[in-house]
Symmetry: C2
Subunit: 364 residues, 2 copies
Amino acid sequence: MHMNNQQATIKDIAKLAGVSIATVDRVLHGRGRVSPEALTAVTNAIETLNYKPNQIARALSARRSKIRIGLALPNVESDFWGEIIFGAEQAQKHLEPFGVELISEYSYSYEFEDQVKSIKLLLERDIQALIVTPLYDGFGNVVGSHIPSSIPYATMINDLPSSNRLFHIGPDDFAIGSLAARLTDLYCQGKGNVVILAPNHSMIETQNRISGFMSLINQDNLNISVQRIVPVPGKTEQVMYNEIMKSTEECIRQFPDIDAFYVTNGLTEWCADVVAANNCQQKIKIIGHEVTQKTCTYLQNKVVHAVIYQRPALQIYNAINLMFDYLIGNISKPESNIISDCSIIIKENLGFSHIGGQNNYGYS
Amino acid sequence: MHMNNQQATIKDIAKLAGVSIATVDRVLHGRGRVSPEALTAVTNAIETLNYKPNQIARALSARRSKIRIGLALPNVESDFWGEIIFGAEQAQKHLEPFGVELISEYSYSYEFEDQVKSIKLLLERDIQALIVTPLYDGFGNVVGSHIPSSIPYATMINDLPSSNRLFHIGPDDFAIGSLAARLTDLYCQGKGNVVILAPNHSMIETQNRISGFMSLINQDNLNISVQRIVPVPGKTEQVMYNEIMKSTEECIRQFPDIDAFYVTNGLTEWCADVVAANNCQQKIKIIGHEVTQKTCTYLQNKVVHAVIYQRPALQIYNAINLMFDYLIGNISKPESNIISDCSIIIKENLGFSHIGGQNNYGYS
DNA sequence: CTGAAAGCGCTTACAG
DNA sequence: CTGAAAGCGCTTACAG
């Protein structure tokens, strides 16, 4: 006898509906043709027994056919994208018993064309879904147009809002820009001259961070004066590296009464290199983004004062899991825009913050 | 033919070792008697094929016998413990297909004796493991002695370091005390008089937070002067509520030049109630712990300035999953002391911080 | 000490 | 349109 405090199984509803489990399965997935009578009988049985498919059994069974998810990612700033890769590996490990295979293609620059190549390669390998951090060229072209509509895809970190992506996961850039302004205000003790260093300046994400930054200053009437917003050019690690060093150096010269740098992206450590080299760390605070190994040291030494950490490993881990749940039918349609939880990292919480995706039992 | 890029299964190693899968299983779990020859053959096969048991299949099979995990938790401050319950429900949902059943017993006070009763009730219900936030009486008695050694148990939030608990998960209280001092310093713009309000004052966790707070002041030579440390008595919500209101009121009277309160525990909102009622929010900053609904409002209104959030839902979610992994043999011995990642919550990141365990795709 | 068999709950050909 | 059967990879009695 079936205990009624147990979860009903497909067998239970087959029995109650007076059909075979194959028919129940057909109803559950809406595939194959089912007679109207069978359909209602099964639907009712599902209702009365409050049937929830067992995901484990579903997964074990699904193992017979591999699920391939492609990842098209830049691999430029090594700490940041390395953490993404780590998160993908965690997801891989977690989903391997479910028959999931991840196929990665990296572009070693922020060039749009490189990414288009990556996506082509992935599509040749018979992937069922794709996760991409979309890059842009200067002409409004987006990678979405290179993905056939049969392949569901998600964006991560950078969005393609008007595309037909399945979902996007990433920070609220405007909000973290405001947060950066607050941190700047706090570390400047309520008064200071700031220069904003903006790599990837033309990207909408960067623009939003800057807007958020300016907005809080206005809204809260902060005594923070933005001396200049400096676009830092470059689409490869080497060029960006040289350019941000140069820009930092110039700003230190040009603005002798500067109190803080706000670096809008993960290149914070290179700005810090220059500030430390010029021995200005007492005078100039640095507020930035992301956590790299060197940034940790600079936080310890009080060269960098606060960074906003978007937890890249967790983002891709979640993106992959969400895509899997979608492919396997656990969820019919994910939330379209998932805002990542970003952490404030300062010297005093560095020790217990789960950096690099390590030690987070929530996903390992 | 077995593709060598596929994970080996128990069948593969059985074939290679020339035994049945039952024997392989015996070797894997060290149960039953196995001949030395079979043992080495299987061990070698496992080695050569780099065999990893499929957790999904294991779980599906394990479903035939329920796993019962007991939770002995206080349920006093409703927002905080409510979030714990939410996290447990998430874990329940996640692990239900694995045949896991959670059995909760709550104590509606922080009284040691109430918790001992809870544990007795749980033990009567044939649980295989236990997770507990241990309470203390005034005589050094601990709940560990009430748990038979056959039942593995974990502590959460409060530790029993010298007990034979399997693992502990919780914040580094000393470190978050230091973090609180830094936040106080920042919001006081580098100078201020502080009163520490300390509910659960006698608990080692509270003591550690206070030590951490004082320690950073000394170590970094902060211009923060702690006017007084006020123990707030009470072991039930009602009493604690009255007492912290009273203490806050008295401090506002007694220390007219106070710049900030540091509330060492999750009762921050009640301190804020009094500060707001006395219209002191312009003058007195509040730094505290945990996030409640009212605290969110107070953060918005700048009555409370910063709280340190230990993510209770995530902690119990992780504790339950870890215990499950241990029971099912996925991990032989968890790390003994797992430091939770605590978040800084301020007005500017309230909007995108995943509060209450909601929206965290890492565990739902 | 060992192996054949049934079963966990689902999916997927296959044969009607 | 429908159902019996095999299978996903493991565990658990049961019979030798």
